[in-house]
Symmetry: C2
Subunit: 304 residues, 2 copies
């Protein structure tokens, strides 16, 4: 699906070893992290450059996953110490309960873009501290298209920095709970409008199984979720959603509404693969032809 | 929008005087009830026949609403006593909290179809006791297309009768909470499959602001909600959804998938008008041209 016209995308985010429990089972120290899921989704559409950090204990087999993805790993730093670990569970597929977070080397993460990443035209700031997200911006040259994600924790504790960041990015991703927390609105359409007023050109609110709402200050885009029957583990769904979305923009170019609409539809379908397995298992099954087949099915379901 | 080919639809349901409190205000003894909202939505697409009961206190101005709707009111019974009253509030637009229910004459409701309703080709059994719904079926002649709705109360207390009814109807409507309660499933796609296995040809799960999921035993239809910013009162949203849906089928004929898809899209848009005002105020604003305009906007938002 990636082609010779696809521009590169750089992702700045976490690489983790996750321990996850869902009604379908439990896995320990498996590959996770926002940069991981983003990379494995975006690579189908565009070349990916990774900025992240791993510890000395990072398993060789997981490093191979990145190598096999053909991502540019010059920005992937290995530091003395242990890799970031997250452990959590889900009673409700839309809501992770964190049991434990061990930042380890991720606590010292100070993202530095290698020279040749600095002019990369598509940039994704995954869910990290807003101050670090801002620090990445200062390293960029040219006029890249920038998108960012966040999480409840930063909204509660670093609201000001986050809203300041929104002035400097084109696209902001939030999930439903985050959009409501940030704005105090109960209705997502109002939340979208309020977030738009802080500066970005597109507000993308991910609603999990209920799909996505996009807003560009004038018009809404609304897509349902892909109704998968196999929701094993939703960890990484949002990051792979963003990965497919940004990869598609990097392939097609720019922010035109029809491109955004198609990118959201691909992102929805990619996320539906992610949730069908633990860790990266769902994404691994997702060949280009499986993705394309499900994409067509999704368009048909939605009457497109 | 109704045309000379539209077949009639009969609705069997409640007519109520509602007292409702929402974050937008409070109204007392206003026109409500499933048959009311259904009628005002369906009439745009097809002639409507009403089976319901009112008390002696039913205000003349509300009777006029029915008369102005051009519905056939031969099945509308006036009994000695008071009209059915419901009072409730919403903290969350998707969930009504009932404060008080006074059945009054509705407690004696024993639906009898006038002779000329019995061959009506489209039948909607609104949310009433499953035994009464079944009693309506026994009065029907010919092979009408039958749809039914229900509520939590009947699922909890009359589960067996409800599932028995599902064998004898073509389309069942439930909202998200009802589908989960009935099946014990957390995932709606699985709930839809389980409900389908009880007998109907189509299962329609209404997800409020999140849209709708349809299932015909093989394929899913999924549509997002219309992102309205003006959710004043969601009372009647589901009944007007069903009204528009059944009216559209009665206009177009039959159960073909593309007709169902269009009917669901119209139903979504009609429900978005309903929630924009208390009681029937939102529906009253909905002229044919306003409906058509929003329908086209909805298709565009969804990329159709």
């Amino acid at each position: 699906m990636k082609n010779s016209k696809s521009k590169p995308v750089v992702v700045i985010g976490s690489i983790a070893l996750d321990t996850v429990k869902t009604p379908y089972g439990e896995v320990q120290n498996v590959l996770g992290g926002s940069a991981t899921f983003f990379t494995l989704a975006a690579r189908l559409f565009a070349p990916v450059q990774v900025v992240g950090v791993i510890g000395e204990d990072f398993p060789e087999k997981y490093l191979k996953v990145f190598k096999n993805s053909k991502a540019d790993l010059e920005g992937l730093l290995k530091l003395p110490g242990k890799t970031f670990r997250w452990s959590g569970s889900y009673e409700n597929p839309n809501e992770a309960i964190t049991h434990d977070t061990q930042l380890n080397v991720f606590g010292e993460f100070d993202p530095r873009l290698p020279e040749h990443y600095r002019k990369t035209p598509y940039v994704f700031l995954a869910n990290i501290h807003p101050a670090l997200q801002e620090r990445v911006l200062s390293q960029l040259e040219g006029k890249p298209l920038i998108a960012c994600d966040t999480m409840n924790h930063w909204i509660s504790s670093h609201r000001k920095e986050l809203i300041a960041l929104y002035k400097n990015v084109h696209i902001v991703f939030l999930n439903e709970g985050e959009a409501k927390l940030l704005t105090g609105e109960k209705l997502l359409v109002r939340a979208a409008r309020q977030i738009y007023s802080t500066g970005p050109q597109w507000v993308i609110i991910k609603k999990g199984e209920h799909g996505v709402l996009g807003f560009d200050g004038k018009d809404f885009i609304t897509l349902p979720g892909f109704p998968t029957e196999q929701v094993v583990d939703t960890t990484g769904a949002g990051d792979s959603f963003a990965g497919a979305f940004m990869g598609y923009l990097a392939k097609k170019g720019g922010l035109k509404k029809n491109i955004i609409q198609e990118a959201l539809a691909y992102a929805t379908v990619v996320a539906s693969f992610t949730v069908e397995g633990f860790s990266i298992q769902g994404l691994k099954k997702m060949t280009c032809s499986a993705l394309e087949k499900r994409y067509q099915k999704f368009l048909k379901m939605a009457g497109v």
